[in-house]
């Protein structure tokens, strides 16, 4: 369980508070009930003691002690009711009740009151019960009689015990109900947050124009969603500006490039110009052309990255496409006496944009030929494993150092200073990468310096009905 979650902490706090309040409340109830029960008992006992003082005690000189005892037993029957009654006067005992029915206390062992009148609680007369004893005095013919009336507190204890049991069972139930209630309330309150989260999760650079649902709660949640949406809008703006910038930049380069190109072209074809000058103009023209290609490629990449390019979605055979493309480029390999082997599993049907995938094949083969020395070998293979189609270009060329590998898809990254760019744009692999991303394909490169490089493209294999 995540103890740091807002759910956990809120529920913990909530039930903790409720438990505290409940315990305080229970203590209050317990104390109140206890005081009330004792007060009632003392009142009852006191009333009886006074009744004895008024009704029975005045005859103490006329009647024999046995008759007094009989009168008390007749009215109160203390033994049967578990009561304690004692009447005494200075230095002698007038009456004392006998052993009670349940033998909980021995009346003769109860000490005489030290001071009068105050109710006493005597403890413990048994493992379970205390006793409450109320004392009253009455003066008859100049002699002070003390009347004690007592009862065990069993009943009070039983009532209080019942209350404790009820509270002990009730408290966990209350806490459970409160926790559940708090959880449900939280879930309801957090519902909009969950909505925001699941929508936010789906937002990528491809669909930055999507917005989060706004919870119309008029409180912090509504604020949160509104603010997040404002942030998304700013993000979208910034992203669009960034991708617009590279698109605009390459776009704006076109007209000046066109002017330069056309001007130089007309000079280059001027037959009156000396040979060495024409050659130099030609060199400048070649670089102008390369500049144009760089601008074009940048435009292609920024469009792919901005998701502006519509990727065709047609069924085609990757193996045939790779094979035909390789044949069209094979002369480049032949020129360098590089042996190009092709193994393809025909058919390898995939969905996608064949023109874009062809671009990948061209770029990868071109790289392989460029970075493989005379007499080397290139293996182009297309195969499928389970539901994936693979296109692999393996060469035994100069390879790429391990430290360079993570950077090779970066724009304009040159793997090795020693490698000449050979008229390239430095964007070939970036284009491969962007096309793969736009296609939902993955590209990976393995390489060992001076051993060779393997580049592998993985595409989902199309299911073909047999």
């Amino acid at each position: 369980m995540n103890t740091r979650s807002i759910y956990f902490r809120l529920i913990l706090w909530c039930s903790g508070l409720i438990a505290l309040v409940a315990v305080l409340f229970a203590a209050y109830i317990y104390q109140g009930l206890e005081a009330r029960l004792y007060a009632e008992m003392e009142q009852t006992l006191k009333r009886r003691a006074q009744q004895i003082a008024q009704n029975i005690l005045p005859q103490v000189y006329q009647q024999s002690p046995d008759n007094i005892a009989a009168a008390i037993t007749n009215v109160y029957s203390p033994e049967a009711n578990n009561r304690f009654i004692r009447i005494s006067r200075p230095n002698s005992l007038v009456y004392i009740s006998g052993l009670p029915k349940d033998k909980e206390f021995d009346p003769h062992k109860i000490p005489l009151p030290s001071s009068t009148i105050e109710p006493r609680r005597i403890a413990p007369i048994s493992p379970h019960a205390n006793m409450v004893i109320v004392t009253t005095v009455a003066e008859i013919e100049g002699i002070l009689f003390t009347i004690e009336m007592g009862a065990p507190t069993d009943d009070i204890n039983t009532a209080l015990h019942g209350l404790v049991v009820t509270l002990l069972f009730g408290l966990p139930v209350v806490i459970l109900v409160v926790s559940l209630g708090a959880y449900m309330l939280l879930r309801r309150a957090m519902g909009p947050v969950e909505d925001i989260m699941s929508t936010a999760e789906q937002i990528t650079f491809g669909n930055l124009s999507n917005r989060l649902p706004v919870a119309h709660t008029g409180d912090v949640l509504e604020h949160l969603s509104v603010k997040l949406n404002q942030m998304l809008a700013r993000l979208e703006d910034a992203y669009q500006q960034a991708s617009r910038f590279s698109a605009d930049a390459s776009h704006e380069l076109r007209t000046p490039l066109a002017v330069t190109h056309c001007e130089l072209e007309s000079v280059a074809q001027d037959q009156q110009l000396p040979e060495h000058l024409r050659d130099r103009i030609g060199s400048v023209l070649e670089e102008t052309e390369r500049l144009s290609r760089i601008a074009e490629n940048l435009l292609i990449i920024s469009r792919l990255d901005a998701g502006e390019v519509k990727i065709e979605h047609e069924l085609y055979d990757l193996a045939t496409l790779a094979k035909n493309t390789a044949e069209q480029i094979s002369l480049l390999a032949e020129q360098k006496k590089i042996k190009m082997n092709i193994t393809t599993a025909i058919p390898t049907p995939v969905y996608g944009d064949p023109a874009k995938i062809k671009q990948i094949v061209v770029n990868l083969l071109d790289n392989a030929i460029k970075y493989t020395p005379q007499g080397g070998a290139i293996l182009l293979s297309v195969y499928s494993v389970q539901d994936k189609a693979y296109l692999e270009v393996r060469d035994n060329g100069i390879g790429i150092a391990a430290a360079e590998l993570p950077h090779i898809f970066e724009r304009f990254y040159r793997a090795d200073k020693a490698r000449s760019r050979q008229g390239g744009t430095g964007l070939g692999l970036s284009i491969v990468h962007s096309i793969c991303q736009a296609h939902g394909a993955t590209v990976e490169i393995e390489s060992k310096e001076n051993k060779g490089t393997t580049c592998r493209i993985m595409l989902p294999l199309a299911e073909v009905k047999k």
Partner: protein, 225 residues
């Protein structure tokens, strides 16, 4: 032949105008859309080269106004907008061709020529240049009576150059016609194929037909032309 260039980039319109004049065209230049539309409505042109992003009336608007007025003049759109959607939109609006900046003048010229002779000219089945003979039906090539064996790509390259003999062909043009756009990044493929073609077609003979114009491209023509 009379051509109208509507292009707000003065340098560009200037150089296109010069180039076309050198090819024998009478050329008018409009530097904004409003003038361009007026020119196009007032005179009879054989071809109009039209930029899309223009101050005043834009190229798209001019195009549709001309076509609405029942003008059948061939129109070549010249623009920095290169998405397929842009192209389709303008072809639908009645453009005859579409060229994306930056471009080689050689290509512009070729496209203008193609627009002008689009309709009737029957292309001959056998092209003869000096002692080179290309049979386009049989895909057979002979030089001084000797048959030359060519691969498919080599033949396509030679035929393309022969069809456009006396014209400079840029590497981009060759790639787009003989290969396709996927190969645009690797222009040395053209050099390699031209080299191969030379070995077969020119090497054994005294008269060299294929010439290199550095930085521009290749041209196939008779010596002394």
């Amino acid at each position: 032949m009379r051509a109208l260039i509507v292009e707000d980039e003065e340098k560009l319109s200037d150089i296109v105008a010069r180039g076309l004049k050198a090819e024998g065209f009478a050329v008018d230049v409009a530097l904004n859309g409003t003038d361009g539309l007026e020119f196009a409505m007032s005179y009879d042109y054989d071809v109009i080269i039209l930029d899309i992003m223009l101050p005043g009336t834009d190229g798209t608007e001019i195009l549709s106004r001309i076509r609405k007025n029942n003008g059948h003049v061939p129109i070549l759109m010249l623009t920095a907008k290169d998405t397929v959607a842009d192209k389709v939109k303008h072809f639908d609006a009645g453009a005859d061709d579409y060229l994306t900046k930056p471009f080689a003048f050689a290509e512009l010229l070729m496209r203008v020529r193609a627009l002008l002779k689009r309709a009737p000219t029957q292309r001959p089945n056998i092209i003869k240049i000096a002692d080179l003979e290309i049979d386009r039906l049989a895909h057979q090539v002979k030089r001084a009576g000797n048959a030359i064996e060519l691969s498919t790509k080599e033949y396509a390259l030679l035929e393309y150059m022969a069809q456009n003999c006396d014209q400079v062909l840029s590497r981009t043009m060759i790639i787009e016609h003989v290969w396709d756009q996927s190969f645009e990044g690797i222009t040395n493929i053209v050099d390699v194929y031209v080299h191969q073609l030379r070995n077969k077609v020119d090497e054994p003979y005294k008269e060299k037909l294929i010439k290199t114009i550095r930085g521009v491209g290749y041209i196939l023509n008779k010596v002394g032309k």
